[in-house]
Amino acid sequence: MPILEGEGVTKYFGGLAAVFNVDFDVEQGEVLGLIGPNGAGKTTLFNLISAALTPKSGVIRFKGQDITGLKPHQICRMGVARTFQSVKVFANMPVLDNVVLGSFFGTPTGVSSADAVREASGLLEFVGLSAVKKARAKDLTLANQKRLEVARALATEPELLLLDEIMAGLNPTEVAQAMELITRIRDKGITVIMIEHVMKAIMNVCERILVLHHGEKIAEGTPQEIATSETVMKVYLGEKARAGG
């Protein structure tokens, strides 16, 4: 049974269909890439899955359960976590506190303060932020803030992690580090869906790729299939060159 399914998911903004009749399923443990030109509806789809928005029509199921219409905190506790395209860390709080919140509230069962701090410290080590544990989140570099968002998301003990353009604004070294982090997350058994424009990352890390254009799914397949698909190439003519893929 796929861990996440979507049938006919549709969302309008005013008269414009941001996401139109999209079907998808995500197998447990896989790393799925979600690509498409700007405005294709990728982040909107994430927002629909994480319940930041409600679909106009269609159904989304997580582990077989219908999650359309639930609130974001409920989805989070069920095991879906995400990061944001424009980084939304809690700027004036220390790095550790950011993550500890995930441990406290992101899981369905309670946890003691000491355990939460221990878990959070462990996660900071996992993403490589132990050195800046006590710093204010706003004092971190962009790359580190993105790591912090990942740590915070992981603190909620997700089975499914949605990463929204985690590599945007990173230099090549940081991109390689991010790719490696995603692989380690996958190795923990967490299913990952990632929106990305950095083609190198998508092609190397993802096992399957879904392509959106003007809110509709236009292609789906392995990286090899997508790389050679005429439909995709037409849409991406120019985008590929720009992303340096």
């Binding site: 930041a52 974001p72 809690f90 709080m93 506190d97 992101g106 701090v117 544990k133 006590k134 909620t156």
Partner: protein, 316 residues
């Protein structure tokens, strides 16, 4: 707020706090009546200001309703003053205010903050109109008398509510819920996605803060003895706590306390010396504070302290 060092027990001047509490508890025995009465007023403003800060500080949702909640408590005393003992009235006043806060919160806290501001702003005027209409048309009274209790009793009651509030505010701040409230103020959407039920947390905290305002109102009514709707529902009581909190500084717990103490004393002074100018002066202070003191007095002191200690290190 550093949760880690809080968890590892940050050193707190507990000794000096206990000393202050003992001094306050025994002051009616040796202090002049004027001081006791002044301290009671200071407690009242501290209670309203600290409870206001408890919610509006971390979340950034600016409530303009303190006067309404306080007024509900005052009216509880006005209605039940001769029927029930004062401690019961205080609880009822507090609970009634909480219920009102729950209603207001449920209506407005699911929406953007601006609706909350607008709704709470008009609340005191609404209650004034409603109670006025009720008193004129239904009950036929235009003023009510509240039984008096001695100055000392009022003082001790306020001291107790003050102590409970400060303890509550402190515990909330240090707890995971205080952290969650702060995250709501930083990035509400991200907080929701981290598993925090933001709406429920906002509403509950708002209701808790309203309880103390109502309780304070119920007690103070006994000092005013004569209550009519205009006395109970006074917009100035929404303005003063906000001014005190902003001036004092909302980053630390003691900021609003300092602000409240300073302004209560200032108000006493101005009302006696310049009775026609105090609203003007407070209004000007508010504008100045918004413009030049974003972190309040506490923030200013912290900056000053930092500058002094940096200068010291520069010399070495």
């Amino acid at each position: 707020m550093d949760f880690v060092s809080v968890v590892s027990k940050r050193s707190f001047p507990l000794g000096s706090l206990l000393l202050i509490l003992i001094l306050l508890a025994t002051s009616p025995l040796y202090a002049p009546v004027y001081t006791v009465v002044l301290l009671t007023s200071i407690f009242m403003y501290i209670i309203i200001t600290v409870s206001w800060t408890m919610f509006s500080g971390p979340t950034g949702y600016i409530s303009l309703a303190p006067a309404a909640f306080f007024g509900v408590g005052v009216y509880a005393s006005a209605l039940l003053g001769f029927v029930l003992p004062l401690p019961a009235i205080i609880i009822i006043g507090g609970l009634a205010s909480s219920c009102l806060a729950l209603l207001v919160g449920a209506l407005t806290l699911r929406l953007r903050g601006i609706y909350f501001v607008m709704f709470t702003f008009g609340l005191v005027e609404l209650l004034l109109h409603f109670v006025l209409w009720w008193e004129v048309n239904i009950t036929g009274t235009t003023g009510r008398v509240v039984p008096t209790v001695g100055n000392t009793t009022v003082y001790y009651l306020m001291l107790i509510i003050f102590a409970i509030l400060v303890l509550t505010a402190y515990l909330i701040r240090r707890s995971r819920f205080g952290l969650a409230l702060q995250s709501i103020g930083e990035y509400e959407e991200a907080a929701a996605h981290t598993g925090i039920n933001v709406t429920a947390l906002k509403i509950i905290t708002f209701a808790i803060s309203a309880f103390f305002m109502g309780a304070a109102g119920a007690i103070m009514a006994t000092r005013w003895t004569y209550i009519d709707p205009r006395i109970a529902f006074n917009p100035l009581l929404s303005f003063m706590p906000v001014l005190m909190a902003i001036f004092g500084g909302m980053g630390q717990l003691y900021g609003p306390i300092i602000g409240a103490a300073i302004f209560t004393y200032l108000e006493e002074f101005l009302i006696t010396r310049f009775p026609y100018y105090y609203m003007l002066i407070f209004g000007i202070i508010m504008v100045v504070a918004i413009l030049y003191m974003p972190d309040g007095l506490v923030g200013l002191m912290q900056k000053l302290w930092k500058r002094i200690s940096e200068a010291k290190h520069a010399d070495t």
